[in-house]
Amino acid sequence: MNGIYSRPLKAVAAMLAGAALTIVCTSGHAQDKPIRIGLVTFLSGPAAGPFGVPAKIAAEAIVDSLNAGKVPAPYNAKGFAGTPLELTIIDEAGGATKQVTELRNLVERQNVDFVVGYISSGDCLAVAPVAEELKKITVLFDCGTPRVFEDASYKYVFRTRSHATMDAVAGAMYLLESRPATQNFGGINQNYAWGQDSWADFTAVMATLKPDAKITTSQMPKFGAGQYGPEISALLQSNSDVIHSSLWGGDLEAFMLQGTPRGLFARSQLILVAGEPYLHRLPGNIPDGTIVGARGPNGVFAQKSPLNDWLRQIYKERADVYPNYPAYSVALAFLGLKAAYEKARLTNAAPATEEIIKAFEYLSFDSPAGKVMMKLGKGHQAVTGTAYGSTLAVDGQVTIGNIKYYPLERVQPPEGVKSIDWIKSGMKPGKW
């Protein structure tokens, strides 16, 4: 009994000392000169390929370009108002609880000045209150759920891209404009919040715009299922005029690969709400005329402008393909933050967080995707219009033609009105 705990006591003491030393060494960052931005994006898992890694590549390209001062006006100042930027990247994988922990580590241990991140809606919802508590400006760059600013108000949290409501609204409008005789429609969406919400929004919009269109079947395979044999059979037998899908990434590819040889798309018109990121991989496996969205005026929908040319060039240098919508989302985040910082800098050489927030609220700024206005969520949520197009195979490549643009009045709910209520009450254009 005598010695039985003396060894462990020494071990515990050693561990505590070691831990204390580590804590002191890692947490005591002096005020570094560059502005540190933490980027949270998927580096592993199924979301890495279509979204997470393109966002990372875009962020790295943008930060390098900003630091070199090579961005077109009005962003030509180096870094943010002359101060260089430093990027720290962490993986968004692991779930919302993990991300909350990691946000705290990013802010308190790695001492970042701003956080740009979050593709998953679940993570966005979880970290927003924590960002408020930590009093760190956090720019949500890609998640789609309207709930962030419809369920709560935040001071430190901003989202520089529109939320997902407009995808459903514009998608349905484009569909009915090209196929006014649509009598019924079915859907295949992943059985988690994104898929469920996309389907709920789409059916609500269709109910408002074409009340007599019937719903044939709603397939809800598990996220990541990868095997859609029975679902495709059910869709084939439903004889739907239209199939709505918010599938993305590998699941979308699998669905296309399995559906095309079975003639599903000869039978039904397909509308892919989030189809843009992987189109270039699908020649031969996507029928002409598939309606595709890019969740905003991104990618091929982006109008020609010096900023758009710039983004396409710096991204293609690194990735060998043109930027997809997550890359655009990241650009909006960085440019919006830069615009806000530099606006605050006009009045104060070392702007405090509160001043940057005031500059960011209700800001309008230019981006590769056009003009972005922070007009919802009390100045914290961006609004833009959006666009949809149809695919056309040209010379073995998938291109998008027949592009239609939808201005923001037609596709955005006004301030103070929940998206689903706005849809159900007729989608009256708000005053912008």
């Binding site: 809800m220 044999g229 084939l236 699998a254 079975r262």
Partner: protein, 298 residues
Amino acid sequence: MSQLLAVLIDGLIYSSWLFIIAVGLTLIYGVMKILNIAHGSLYALGAYSAASLAGYWINQGHAPMGSYAVMLVAAILVGLIAGPVIERGLLRFMYGKDEIVLVLVTYAVFLILEDFVKLVWGVDPYFLYQPYSLLGSFDIADLTYPNYNLVLFAAAVLIGVVVAWVLTRTRQGKMLLAVIHDREMSAAMGINVGRVYFITFTVGAILGALGGALTAPMISVQPGIGAETIVLAFAVVVIGGLGSLPGAALAAILVGLVRSAAVHYRPELDLFSIYFVMAIVLIVRPKGLFSIPEARKI
């Protein structure tokens, strides 16, 4: 009526797939009593290798029909390399330990292999659709099915028959069965249990990789496919009774049909279906459908 037919055909196709991925796992568990979580990684490795190698083959302009052989070769290579490396290099040192510690070891291997796959193949999905559409398709009622599904079904049946034949008709196979029944007695009778373990694990790895390779043309091979299949494979193995090949087959058919029915009649239940089946089977037959009677030590 045609919906019922669709349920049946879809169910059988899915069952074939389930059987192929479960058979390696049930063999490994039956013989070595190891819950091999790394089985999911072997599946992923098989899929990625098949997609890369066959994709390369096709891109080089070789005969597309050859891609099937390439897929098979890829799977066998993966099994022959990964199996021995994991078994001889790691598991061998852990055999004396508690069963649950071995599960932890295979989980650690799974984590390592997940990142290994990511490092080698990157995060973008791979696909290999040519073998899928190459064989044409057949029509039944108002539905079209690619003939590749018949290949999958045939492969499942073939694998089942071959493994069953090897287990019951060859000497090596009978030794494996002996070890499944009673490890200690088999060792006492002079069976080289260590070598049996080695062979079993390698064969199980090949079968797992084969599952991945055969599935690759139907899906998009992306990070995370390993994790998704592990729990499905386990469920099938447990429902069938651990270490029982006919059990795995029956379980696969059961789960496949139930899932297919769910998708056609009540799509929102699809998430639950496999767990419902597992819960109900375990309640009714606590050790799975075909469990091997075990003597109880007093």
